[in-house]
Amino acid sequence: MNALPIARRELLVLARRPWVYWSRLGVGGLVAGISALTIFLAATGGLGNPASLGRPLFDVLLFLAGPLCLCAGPVLVADSLANERQAGTLGLLFLANLRSPDILAGKLIALSLPALQALLAIVPVMGVAFFLGGVTGGEFARTMVALLSLLGWSLAVALVCSTLLREGRAAFGLSLALGVGAMALPLLTRGWTLAGTLVAFPAEFLGAPGTALYHAREVEKNASLAVTWWAAVGWTQVMTLGCLAVASVALAWNWRDERRPVPPPASRTARRRRCSESDPLQWLARERLGGRAWVRGYTLAAMGLMCWLASGAPGWTATPWQVLGLVWLAQAGFKLTVAWYASRALGPERASGSLEVLLVTPLGGETLWRSWLRAMRGLFLVPAMLFCGWNLALAWRLVREVSGPEETLGFWLFALLAAALFLLDGYTLTWVGLWEGLTARNASRACARTLLRVLVAPSLVSLPITLLAVWGGAPWPDGLVLIGSLWLGLGFLTDLAVGAWTMVRVSDDFRAAAITANQRRSLG
């Protein structure tokens, strides 16, 4: 196998990226901060005696390590092959007497390094949690095996998506969706009796990565689950090897960047609509965005699902708070869609050089970004308002099942504030996605940075604090109030800080950022 030259080249490219070094510092700092906070709580008596430190510390670090392993593939690997294909360098690699397994192995070895480094920062501290008590050696070992399996699976899935799909951001989205689905499937099917049904094996196979992680702990309580855990690990390895095999075969057939010719609009109505558009830039942005059917379909499907669950799905009776939680999940999916579309802004124009041409014209930078914002508004405003209104109507329907005036008020307040935060998040994601689409190297990175700044950062701060406070002795209802309040408050502050800063940057520095991005592109 001749993978080492590819690995060497990829490592040299990574070595020139500042984020590789900053991520090491960031993960190490985060782990140190969480450990220090836990020790502080133990020293001040919030967590009882030091012997009870181990479990909360282990769980919080697992909460960090799990998503890190899950997102490693989409973030690091998903756009690697697709970008090379679009740049036309993939064919040159085949001319250099390399085979597809060599190329894939080289990319995998190099691009998995940042994720392994981050895991290396977290795992020893999880080992310390084992020594503190509350975590057995078996659970620690099973969790490590599950995390490494999940990491390998995530990288393999992202690699096969990058091989099969033409665009890097499509590969990013599909691999992320598959990862989230694999983790969510065991939770969604928990308590359902699937044995003997047609969906039993597919559910077990596709949800194996999530099952391995969740059952790593439960084997301690129920030894009969050991078989389930081993089966889940085994299926995960099978899926990983299968993805790598498919990628090896597919790459040899799919290395060219062939674009299908777009047929001209056949109907007179479509031609008239094009000619009658008063703002050609807005028309261009709208055509580039596309996705109207997807956004409308998602909104209607989410509304229908929430109604069905609220009215009592077969075999599952939801409490009003559980339905609110589902509403939050559906809103999160909508926000991901907004970030996804917004981060497509201007990237292809910048890559093709047409952005430079547009900036030279009398149109100016302001016309460009305002047209994009109008196009985003046309795509998302009505579905967002519909979504929000439907959620409030659902809350009005469910509040009758809540007992007590205090809980009723809390339910209504949470529903209203969550609706307001949903609209504010959407607005902020649009602006931040526009700026990141202009300045990031590629659209996948733009989308990841947009989500990190607006949605992930408040959660990273609020959830560990809340979890530690709850384990420190706060009773669960108060813990739920603390989670909700922290999430709302931090989300609002983040939207305001990041959104205002980005709006000012877009309006002041658009031209300079576009020129800088173009210079960076031409220098390679």
Binding site: G364, G365, E366, G489, F492, L496, A500, V504, S507, D508
Partner: protein
Amino acid sequence: MPKSEMLRRSVRCFWLGWLALVPVAGGIAALFALIDFQAVVLGKGEQWNAARPYLLLGAWLAGLGLLITSTAAVLALLVLVNS
């Protein structure tokens, strides 16, 4: 938007932001500050805004003021319900 108006509204946003920190009563000041912020960002065109730090700080203070006002309103409602 003329440059003089852009500068005037940016500085006004800054002072309204400080006023927005007053609980409850500052809510209206916060709204006006954010209206000024939005107007300057969308209407300034290609000209350079010398009062950009004032504009940004005014928006952040207005947001913080809205958060303080909302928290005070929620706490007042809870006290009312409990009593």
